[in-house]
């Protein structure tokens, strides 16, 4: 290092570079072939991580719109469709003319329904043809074919409709990671699972008499997703959030003791409230946007 420059003699004026180029000619003309490939006819192998055009698995996608929200360029949108198999659904579409191919949408997808394939020859003279709606992106077999890199873990998932609040799961858990929590206004308890401590032993699932807990493979999220905060006094029980939730994490439960007394003296229906099962929450903020009464707060999420 820091050596003085090699003294180049005048004889090496052109001969040394010519020696090197001559060696290349020998390599590419006589001993072998040139380094390039004849592109439209030969193609390079792309690594499996390559980020090209998107595909969407309709069966895995739950329509949470996380991909739309994380897109730095706003090039994705949710489209409402009717599918003969899946009914009324919402699925994302991509405008590849504006796409950065950053892959954040694939990373954030909670069910790994969205993938990026190795297809890169996307040029088209018509800009409108670069807009790929959900139907053009659909490929229900692609996600099963590739090796998944995302870490999966089995976690017990609660179906609150079946749960009676019997506390058996909390008693069985060897890691003591299930705590029973009183649901305010309902008078029932629900198990709250401390996911970081859970070892997926499955004992709580076995012990549950109502089969409300099931073991399910969930993908670990790489992102710190916002969690909804519920404000009971604003809730009117309108069910908008439960309908909007793509992950079925919101249940509506009756609140006994809030029945209005009707004119004929009978009691009417009790007021309902939303109950969140946060283990299932994907942090999409749809409930927050659906709620018209400021009963759900999500800091940092824009309406």
């Amino acid at each position: 290092m820091a050596a003085k420059a090699k003294k180049t003699s005048s004889l090496g004026f052109v001969l040394k570079p010519m020696k090197r180029t001559g060696a290349t000619v020998y390599k590419s003309l006589i001993a072998g072939r040139p380094n390039t490939i004849l592109y439209p006819y030969q193609k390079l192998d792309l690594p499996p991580t390559y980020r090209g055009k998107h595909t969407l698995d309709f069966k895995r996608c739950i329509g949470c719109s996380n991909c739309v929200q994380i897109c730095p360029n706003d090039c994705m949108w949710m489209e409402k469709l009717e599918d003969p198999e899946l009914g009324k659904i919402e699925r994302p579409g991509v405008d590849l003319g504006r796409c950065l191919f950053c892959g954040l949408c694939v990373e954030v997808c909670p069910t790994v329904a969205l993938h990026e394939t190795g297809e890169f020859e996307l040029a088209d003279p018509d800009r409108a043809k670069l807009k790929f709606g959900p139907k053009e992106l659909r490929d229900d077999t692609y996600a099963d074919k590739i090796v998944e890199e995302r870490q999966k873990r089995s976690v017990p998932v609660l179906d609150l409709d079946k749960c009676t609040g019997c506390e058996k799961c909390a008693g069985e858990c060897p890691e003591m990671c299930i705590a029973m929590e009183q649901i305010e206004g309902v008078g029932k308890k629900k198990p709250e699972i401390n996911l970081p401590k859970c070892t997926a032993c499955g004992k709580c699932v076995v012990v549950c008499p109502e089969k409300a807990l099931t073991m399910k493979d969930m993908y670990e999220s790489y992102f710190d997703m916002p969690e909804p905060k519920f404000i009971l006094k604003n809730c009117t029980g309108c069910q908008a959030c439960a309908k909007a939730c793509p992950a079925d994490a919101i249940y509506m439960m009756d609140m006994p003791g809030t029945e209005k007394v009707l004119k004929d003296g009978k009691k009417g229906k009790p007021k309902k409230r939303a109950v969140f099962v946060l283990e299932k929450c994907v942090g999409c903020g749809k409930c927050f946007r659906a709620c018209k009464f400021q009963a759900i707060e999500m800091p940092g999420v824009r309406k």
């Binding site: 820091a2 420059a5 180049t8 090496g12 991580t49 950053c102 990026e116």
Partner: protein, 360 residues
């Protein structure tokens, strides 16, 4: 002939981007120079204020086409400094390996442009051919060829592919063989030495005072390297030297970059062999705290710095980017005056211009 102003740029083969160098020539001798930048101003600092911390990463990739990984890594270090996130060790090793590959790829691209500037198309083609080796490696690692979007706040996006270590070691061997070839091709040629020795001389004091950083500063005999001075990531555990050369002319800047490629090969070898197993990513908080964070790395072009101000929301309040070339190009009059028109390409090419980061 009377003195006249010549606009070299915005569309000119010398500019490697979109900027304008106005030079005043007396015959073929330059008597005055004035760089004009701003043609590629995209307002990345303002864009970042409207995006969440994660969404900024692919935007910072667009700062420089030659070394996009270095810039997204810089952003991530600054954001980690702001949030206080600890990065897993495997992620740091992966980052260092990827960064050094990026450095080689960037220097090769510089070499390609420099050779083409001096008239040797052969250097352009050979450098681009060998850059492909590292681009392929980075493609397998990150999934993309130019804008990698690989570092994340709190780690990296993917784990290494299965044969990554083997391929990297092979690529390093290949590269060191090829670097010898380049030395014959350039230093072995008298014409190259004629064009480089004693051209664009910049003294040590001037270089430091004008804010020139990176290989151009080390080419003036100052042995400073952010990787050594304020070590980040796992650079303290790597055994390498900060290349420097005392002459301060174009040849010495060239020599520094060539030596840096050797050093980078050395670092890649160490990084892929020492790489521990484990997690490569931790979950970073969504909302940054109130406060400031600063990242300072050795970009392939010089000292890259970012200054983030957080206000507690999920978006940065202010992101300031220090571009090494923005400062270096302001020293153009000092470098150019007194030399010939043909030396403009050697001197400005020797600074490794990248307009994406200059104009932001």
């Amino acid at each position: 002939m009377a003195e006249m102003w010549i606009n070299m740029g915005p569309q000119h083969p010398m500019t490697h981007g979109l900027w304008n160098l106005r030079i005043k020539v007396d015959g073929e001798t330059i008597v005055d120079a004035e760089p004009v930048v701003g043609y590629l101003h995209r307002g990345i600092e303002k864009l970042a204020e409207a995006r969440t911390y994660t969404q900024v990463i692919p935007i910072t990739d667009r700062l420089c086409y030659g070394a996009s990984l270095a810039w997204s890594h810089l952003y991530c270090t600054a954001a980690e400094d702001l949030m206080g996130v600890e990065v897993p060790e495997r992620a740091e090793y992966l980052r260092v390996a990827a960064l050094e590959m990026q450095r080689i790829a960037s220097h090769l691209m510089w070499l390609a442009a420099y050779a083409a500037d001096l008239g040797a198309m052969i250097g352009f083609i050979y450098s681009m051919r060998d850059r492909e080796v590292f681009i392929d490696l980075l493609q397998a690692l990150t999934g993309s060829r130019i804008t990698y979007n690989y570092p994340r706040i709190g780690g990296v996006a993917h784990d290494a592919p299965p044969d990554f270590a083997r391929d990297s070691l092979r690529a390093c061997d290949y590269m060191e063989k090829k670097l010898k070839e380049y030395e014959d091709l350039y230093e072995g040629s008298k014409v190259f030495m004629l064009r480089n020795e004693g051209v664009g001389i910049l003294s040590k004091e001037d270089a430091m005072n004008l804010g020139i950083t990176g290989p151009s500063l080390r080419g003036s005999g100052v042995k400073c390297d952010v990787r050594k001075d304020m070590p980040y990531s796992v650079y303290p555990e790597m055994d390498f030297e900060a290349a420097s050369h005392p002459d301060g002319d174009c040849y010495s800047r060239y020599r520094v970059r060539m030596d840096e490629m050797y050093q980078s090969c050395k670092i890649i070898r160490q990084a892929v062999t020492k790489m521990p197993a484990g997690k490569w990513r931790v979950v970073a908080p969504r909302n940054g705290p109130v406060g400031t964070g600063i990242g300072r790395v050795e970009d392939p072009r010089g000292e890259g710095m970012m200054y983030i101000v957080g206000d507690g929301t999920d978006r940065p309040y202010r992101l300031k980017i220090r571009s090494p070339i923005f400062v270096s190009v302001s020293a153009a009059p000092k470098l150019l005056v007194g030399y010939k028109v043909a030396d403009v390409v050697a001197i400005m090419g020797g600074l490794d211009m990248c307009i994406g980061e200059t104009d932001r």
